[in-house]
Amino acid sequence: MITFSSVSLIYPSSTKTVFENLTFKVSEGELVLVMGPTGSGKSSLLRLINGLIPHHTGGILAGDISVNGISTREVKPGGLAHLIGIVGQNPINGFVSDKVEEELAFGMETLNLQPEVMRKRVEEVLDLLSLAHLRGRSITTLSGGEQQRVAIGSALVMHPKVLVLDEPTSALDPIAAEEVLSILHRLVHDLGLTVVVSEHKLERVIQFADRILYIKGDGQTQIGRPEEVLKDSEIAPPIVHLARALNLDEIALTVRDMRRTTEKFRSNAVVAKVKTPPIFTAEIIEVNDVTLSYGNTRALDNVSLRIGEEEIVAVMGRNGAGKSSLLRSIAGVLKPTQGKISVLGSDPIDLAGKERRQRIGFIPQEPSDLLYGQSVQEECRTADRDNESESGATFDLLQNLVPGISPTTHPRDLSEGQRLALALSVVLSANPKVLILDEPTRGLDYSAKNGLISTLKAIASHGCAVILATHDVELVAEVATRVIFIADGEIVADGSTLDVLLSSPAFAPQVAKIMSPVPWLTVKEVVRAIGLSS
């Protein structure tokens, strides 16, 4: 279906080739997962398939790419619209109309299809993706998962043979992600659709993939069955790390298969006694009966909680449950309609300037919102000046987090992980007592995530309180000491990470699903426990 023959790609302004001599074939009805570290060219590869590169963005291309026998050299992306559906990283940026139904019809209108045909196809897709009840809704009012489904739907109405998706679940909570992925799985099996999907959170997609295309970042690529590729790849989901740690011969990719092969470890397990509840530490944040409403909707409903030193609190919940509202109220951006919040004895809404920097550090969803310097160095100097600290302090901090960033680089040219590290060091240079992060792992690969985990642990051990909102259960399992689960603006669960994550199957990390009922959350814990028992 898709053929890449000795494809090389280079961008005009860069000296590094993105791909060199890439050759592979994807046959009909396959689901191919594209994986690789950030900045390795996953998005570029996806955009090569329908010719957006080089027709839309430029770039020098050698070799040939053909889809269903049509070479992308000869046809512009528009000419492949009936053959390839593409769903971008942020579907909201690609929507052309304001109503769900009109958005679905847009592509067919451009292909000049007859109204009767369009009607029929729109109905089909509405049913296929269970969007029928949303047909008249305005797209901006939909949740992230619903928007993702609309984007997939508007590609499917064209009856494409190939569907290309760029990180379709990165912004979604585990349940919405599961929904989207099972739809993809069904499309491949029922309609014989060919799907190419890129994703960082491998634990979500791995069980659906027929083959993996691994872009190693140094121009090397590997394509093969998941078991082969993951056997010794640098990037791997927890399930593979577990298999490696337990020295299993075969790598199983589904929880079910893995449970079969790890039977003996579970039955032999000597469960270490349940962790003692955290010692009461000095209290930093106090939230008392806080209610926050926008018009008629209540984003937070009578929320009370206390957070102390050295705690790392993960706030979880569906998209739109009120995670961001809670974080932003604590940070002092939103004023609660009722109730009181205090951070070290003062109302965060009144904090400004230096006092604010030294109390609360906030990393927004887009870390680049914080940055405005023309170079990494300029950014660090501004932070030094703001904190009246000695020059170079911020840059040293950055070198500690991610070594090897050149001070003259423009922040825009950094990878997602490096940019997050820069924003973190700018914020941390003021030594805040509270660090708040909103969705820090969007677009982070595993190595950047590990970097973040060790940074957060180090900060917390210095007496800082860390709060993060995230959908990433694996991150929560690794880093958090406590989990707060929010639904509809109310706190539904608040307890130690172990208790909260194990109590709901959808939010359980992969290792916990495999090892259940033994309460282990991460590969490290399993290794430690098994080391103890043997």
Partner: protein, 270 residues
């Protein structure tokens, strides 16, 4: 849900009203007209990002009025009449004869400039009303495919403006949380840069998405649910066009729209 009015009807209506207001040249008529049109916007516009256009147009109109009046007071040809107050005259070189900065401000001069300011502001507000009453996306669909580049530009611009407002708020918030003083004028530099990057990448995404979905590839384009032209549209447009002949009818045309146009507030189910 009631079908919305044909987007072109709104533009014809608003355009005709603006022209007739300009032809009549009466500040009173213009203010009354903007008042009735404001009611139409309040009652008949959808809960959509572009519905804010009227509010922005009003603000812009206010700015235009202020600037026009100020420049009218400071610079210009003296008009004889009752002197209200006088500003010291700025001496200018001889080759700039005919231009005067400062001097006596007469009631006549003040009212003349204020009047012009009102007219300009009213025209801006009326066109803003059309923008907030009709969905730009739907307008684009009723335009022929020949104006393809124009279409892409319109879609990008109209979906960008609400996003721009949202991004500005987001970035200002982030900067404030970094402990920066965001009220100072200098802080705009700190906001402008991330904002520019953000909007640029969004526009490129949108253009790529439209390209990938075949927009403009085929010269012919079908309509899924064509915007239809009913008696309603004809009546509203006809009343507005009549106002071109005799401007005071414009008020009646505005009221016609207030009565005939469907109400489109969306009921978002929880």
């Amino acid at each position: 849900m009631d079908r919305s009015l044909h987007p072109l009807a709104w533009w014809i209506w608003a355009g005709a009203l603006a022209i007739s207001a300009a032809r009549q040249g009466s500040a009173l008529l213009s203010i009354a007209l903007v008042g009735v049109v404001a009611l139409v916007v309040i009652f008949k516009s959808e809960d959509a990002p572009w519905a804010q256009s009227f509010r922005w147009a009003l603000r812009m109109g206010l700015w235009i009025f202020t600037i026009r009046t100020l420049t009218g007071i400071l610079i210009g040809v003296p008009i004889p009449g009752r002197t209200l107050f006088s500003i010291p005259i700025l001496p200018l070189p001889s080759w700039m004869a005919g231009i005067r900065i400062g001097g006596n401000v007469t009631l006549e001069r003040l009212s003349a400039t204020a009047h012009e300011g009102v007219m300009l502001a009213a025209i801006v507000a009326l066109l803003g009303a059309a923008a907030s009453l009709s969905s730009p996306h739907r307008l684009l669909r009723s335009l022929p495919i020949m104006v393809y580049e124009f279409g892409v530009a319109v879609v990008i611009a109209t979906s960008l403006i609400p996003q721009l407002v949202a991004s500005t708020a987001r970035i200002r918030e982030a900067q404030r949380l970094r402990g920066q003083d965001i009220r100072r004028l200098k802080s705009w530099k700190r906001i402008a840069l991330p904002l520019l990057e953000d909007s640029l990448s969004r526009s490129l995404d949108l253009a790529a998405a439209m390209d990938a979905r075949g927009y403009g590839f085929s010269r012919r384009r079908s309509r899924y649910r064509p915007s239809t032209w009913h008696v309603r549209e004809t009546l509203i447009c006809a009343s507005a066009l009549l106002a071109l002949a005799w401007p005071p009818i414009a008020i009646i045309a505005a009221v016609t729209a207030l009565i005939l146009a469907p109400k489109l507030k969306e009921d978002v189910l929880p």
